[in-house]
């Protein structure tokens, strides 16, 4: 006679009585009404958020705290004289993350540097996931190569003329670098290396974002370290920034 305390092996114990400690592995998932995609699912397994993910997150945050505490022990936050509306420092600089914009303000009228460009950047950022072309992420040269190459060249010439008309020579270096890499990735090579193949697989959004990242980094660095009295170009060690 079976022991009444032992659960029947056919009895499925669900809900609040489970004491499983391993993530179950889905071996097969076959029903008539699910799509083929579900059956093909292979995500390398899952782990419990508590404690696995939360623990890792806590360690990451503790390391950040450690770095910031050590930094704060050795470097003091700046504190200048009491604010004086009658004494304008030269140069007067915005916080560092706006110095790219302030650098642009040096070349463009305020409505362009202060409104049009930041407005376009925010709009473009919001729009990214709503364009099919960004979602497919197809390599820029994978179709209509000749036509696209011509369009890139025309855009480049127009853009350089635009920069030149406002004397924005500092933005030229990152632009030329990105376009150089773009044109290099468009070349057809039989002995293409990994770097070339990687570049060639990149969509248009990659090129625009990388150009934006590089240009803003260059503009911010110039605004922060290379601008002195009257927004003149100085060296970082001149003591005038």
């Amino acid at each position: 006679m079976p022991d009444p305390n032992m659960p029947d092996s056919n009895d499925f114990i669900a809900g609040m009585n489970s004491d499983s400690r391993k993530s179950p592995v889905r071996v097969a998932f076959v029903t008539r009404r699910t799509s083929a995609q579900v059956k093909a699912r292979d995500d390398g397994g899952t782990v419990m958020v508590f404690p696995e993910a939360l623990f890792r997150g806590a360690v990451a945050i503790e390391l950040l705290l450690l770095v910031l505490v050590v930094f704060s022990l050795f470097w003091d936050a700046p504190l200048e004289e009491l604010a004086n509306p009658l004494l304008t420092p030269n140069p007067a600089k915005a916080p560092w993350y706006f110095l790219g914009l302030q650098e642009l303000l040096h070349y463009f009228p305020p409505v362009v540097a202060g409104v049009l460009i930041p407005g376009l950047v925010v709009t473009a950022l919001i729009a990214i996931p709503y364009f099919q072309i960004n979602i497919e992420g197809e390599g820029l040269w994978s179709r209509n190569r000749t036509l696209r190459l011509r369009m890139v060249r025309i855009t480049l010439v127009l853009f350089i003329l635009f920069l030149a008309s406002f004397h924005v020579w500092v933005a030229l270096a990152p632009t030329l670098l990105m376009v150089g890499l773009m044109l290099y990735s468009a070349t057809e090579r039989h002995d293409a290396g990994r770097f070339h193949r990687w570049l060639a697989s990149k969509p248009l959004s990659f090129w625009i974002m990388s150009w934006f990242l590089l240009s803003s980094a260059v503009l911010t660095l110039i605004g922060t370290f290379f601008r002195g009295p009257g927004w003149s170009f100085v060296m970082p060690w001149s003591g005038q920034i």
Binding site: V49, L68, P95
Partner: protein
Amino acid sequence: MAATLSQQLTALRRTRVWRSVFRGGNGTSNLDRALAVQQNLFLHLSSVKVRKRSLAFRVTWFLGTLCMGALMILVATGIPLMLYYHPSVPQAYADMKDLQSVVSAGVFLRNLHRWSAHAMVLLVFAHMFKVFYRGAYRPPREFNWVVGVILLIVTLLLSYTGYLLPWDQLAFWAITVGSNLLSSVPVIGPKVRFLMLGGNTVNANALLRFYVLHCVILPLTAATFVAVHFWRIRKDGGIYPGKDHKHA
């Protein structure tokens, strides 16, 4: 017969008081661990399980987590700083001087707040670029990307409003330069600037407005959107597993 620490913890978790506080998760089974997340107001923003591969460092560089960490450090240092600060002219600057000479560890407190603020701006930008280059904005995650853009702007505003509070030359002229940019917006620019500063120049009204924005309005806005941002990660199918991954 001293019980081990883990035995004591287990006993603690079984007490009536503990179980009245935490609605689930009193053991080490998967069910308990799932309940620990799902039955907790704050943790339930997250999913109960996560893909093993999306925990790898190279996937996210933990940048989103680090942004949250920076925000937590900023709240933890910001509240004690509020105890020593008056948003008035010229007392605000005198309070900075007091932090340096009167308040215990005042310099350290201000240093940690300021460097964490710079770190957070950097981390938020880095997080955005990392998400972009992974293609993690793709549907169904497109709206969470937009929430992220909002959080980027809120972060910049938080940093910018905090910049004025020490009321030294650096603060005053940085905000003057920044707010002058606003005047160039056609039609509404000067009006928005007047509303923001409480006047036509950076003055005592501006300091008070920036203080309220910095300590109340913007933190609440940030907290709200951070909650939406985390919750949408779960609702949109977890951390983006990569383009080559076959979606369910």
